[in-house]
Symmetry: C2
């Protein structure tokens, strides 16, 4: 695969005090990605509630599109014919597309899994569809994303070890098939590591991936199958031991994570990329992530507050409006509530990774992490 | 009443060929208003679906806030304490507030009308409220709008003449009480003319208003009680005969109107200001107003269209996205559909009045009106 992808280049000074947290960058055809970075999720070709112009002002390094949703509606060939997902949705920075596997395994109703792939029913019109490694690659090629995720089998959380091993082996075989599929020249392929919360299984699966990688390198490595129902402690213990074992010269992506607390923990242990619907979903439900902790904007205490949502935030919402106004919009069910709340939550989350990067570059990450955690008040600020 | 309001200053060259269509301007504390102008409606302190920044890019000369809604939620005293409606909603251009009367007469459930005012029940929590001329003025003073509308009794469309006359007389008495109320120094008061579609009643009511105006001038005159169920022909016949009889040295405001066709007709007959929820409401329902006619974006014919919504429109939506993308957003129920559609419909409606102004200034309004109507295709463009 020819690719404009650069390897991961560490920006961290060599004398850094942190053994794991790292800052770096890698290049794609649609721009350089500075890490650590949080990727907002644009499930159906839009990051819910914000325009691409608002998203640009928020400033994520890369955003995520959903292969499953876009393949069903409006269809990947239609998007290809309209110039690809970048042109279709008006976002001209880097895009990562997932493989569609997570949605097929978690959302679709009837489904049948074979070695060849998964047959599933569209929840929209009941029509039957088939997702295989090749079909996932084809959709992602049609979408024209910069980062393509391999199709993995997504086991449910807390699956028994023996079943997990069977699933992992299939994921490896599927990875080989994904890599054999000809992507577009500008696209890079990320491999996904599975193995639940079992460090030995994670290592075993990583060895299989690295065997393939030695034949022909992947452009990045993802940790999948976490944040799917296991205890937070189990996830964190696994991450603390495992992330640093991923190759240092490629980006490391922790899929589907997460909360501000999760991001900080992940960065602390060497994760470069994150994605999660949490910031926009919580925003629509009126839960706002701030430097002082979580604000539930519908609470009566904000009704007459002339204060900005987060005095440490420079986003459009915090620069322009009072808590009283945000409270009013949420209480009256105005659409603008979701938009302004989403702008803030995305700004906060993207900003957290940006600030973490600056702290790492300044060799002050442990101090930054400590102060950030101290400022997160458990009482509503 | 001391006021920074200027009189209406005609910008139309004296050799214009049009007897009625006029361009002009008047000044308020929050800026000059160039007319003709369409005022987007911000019912609950937000023009539905767009941020103030997006609204600024659309460029309306003045926007409208609702006394009834804001007085109930979050309450006018709260908005006053937070610096007034401009600061509360982040819009720093001119604001007109309605009197609350239209909503009390059309929305509220139980209500009792006396000479003193109207007692009504809040649809939100069933609590009892009282709206009188003095209370309407007090709310609008607390909101701090630039243009304050007098409280009128809003008779239902097609009310019998004798009942209409009783209602008009009360509206005149209420107007006198509104004028006696001390507004803030920067606020101007508009009187509202009633009389249904009866030209003689309209003239009779206007004489009563002008008698008050001679004692102390109003800052503008509004035509109320139209577009409330009467036949379009009846409304237009009345407007064609009546609007030019309103004083030429004050702005003329046709309340609650309307469609692009209505705007063009109103401008043709000397109206300066319009307001209507139609552009944003239709936008949310997927009906888009364009220079070629109405587009129903959910229709299958737009599914794969690489064309902009309106090739003659320079709004963010038309500059950035294809019809196929707008179709996709609407079909998948994404919030962004409402936002992008609202940006376009508001841009189109505001732009129509701006273009009409330019045409009037260039003494080419009849030609502009003819071409605009010819371009409105009855078949979906």
């Amino acid at each position: 695969m020819s690719s404009p992808f650069s390897a991961f280049v560490p920006d961290t000074p060599p004398t850094g005090a942190e053994p794991a947290a790292r800052a770096g960058h890698f290049s794609t055809a649609h721009g350089t990605v500075l890490t650590p970075a949080f990727m907002p999720v644009g499930t159906q070709g839009t990051v819910k509630g914000v325009t691409p112009a608002q998203l640009e002002a928020i400033g994520p390094q890369v955003i995520l599109g959903n292969t499953y949703h876009l393949g069903l509606r409006p269809g990947d060939e239609l998007i290809r014919d309209l110039g690809g997902l970048h042109a279709f949705m008006g976002w001209h920075g880097p895009i990562l597309t997932d493989s569609g596997g997570f949605q097929v395994f978690s959302l679709a109703g009837l489904r049948r899994i074979t070695e060849e792939g998964v047959t599933f029913q569209s929840p929209f019109d009941g029509s039957s569809h088939f997702l295989s490694p090749e079909r996932s690659m084809e959709i992602q090629r049609n979408l024209g994303s910069d980062i393509v995720m391999a199709l993995d089998e997504c086991p449910p959380g807390r699956l028994e070890r023996d079943k997990l091993e069977v699933s992992m082996a299939r994921t490896t075989r599927w990875l080989r098939r994904c890599r054999a599929f000809p992507l577009a020249g500008h696209q890079g392929l990320f491999a996904i590591n599975q193995g639940g919360v079992h460090l030995d299984l994670r290592r075993q699966h990583l060895e299989e991936i690295l065997a393939l990688d030695r034949e022909q390198p992947f452009q990045g490595f993802a940790v999948g199958g976490l944040s799917v129902g296991e205890a937070k402690d189990e996830m964190n213990e696994l991450l603390a031991a495992f992330v640093r074992q991923l190759p240092a010269d490629r980006p490391r992506y922790l899929m589907g994570v997460g909360t501000p607390e999760d991001l900080l923990f992940g960065i602390e242990h060497g994760v470069d990329l994150f994605d999660c619907v949490l910031p926009t979903r919580e925003a629509r439900h009126g839960t706002l992530l701030t430097s002082r902790g979580r604000v539930k904007i519908k609470n009566a205490r904000h009704k007459a507050s002339p204060e900005p949502l987060d005095p440490d935030c420079n986003c459009y919402t915090c620069r322009t409006f009072t808590r009283a106004y945000l409270h009013h919009l949420f209480r009256t069910g105005e659409m603008l509530a979701s938009t302004l709340n989403s702008i803030h939550n995305l700004s906060y989350t993207v900003g957290l990774t940006r600030d973490a990067r600056q702290a790492i570059l300044a060799c002050q990450f442990p101090d930054f992490a400590r102060r950030t955690r101290e400022n997160w008040n458990t009482e509503e600020p």
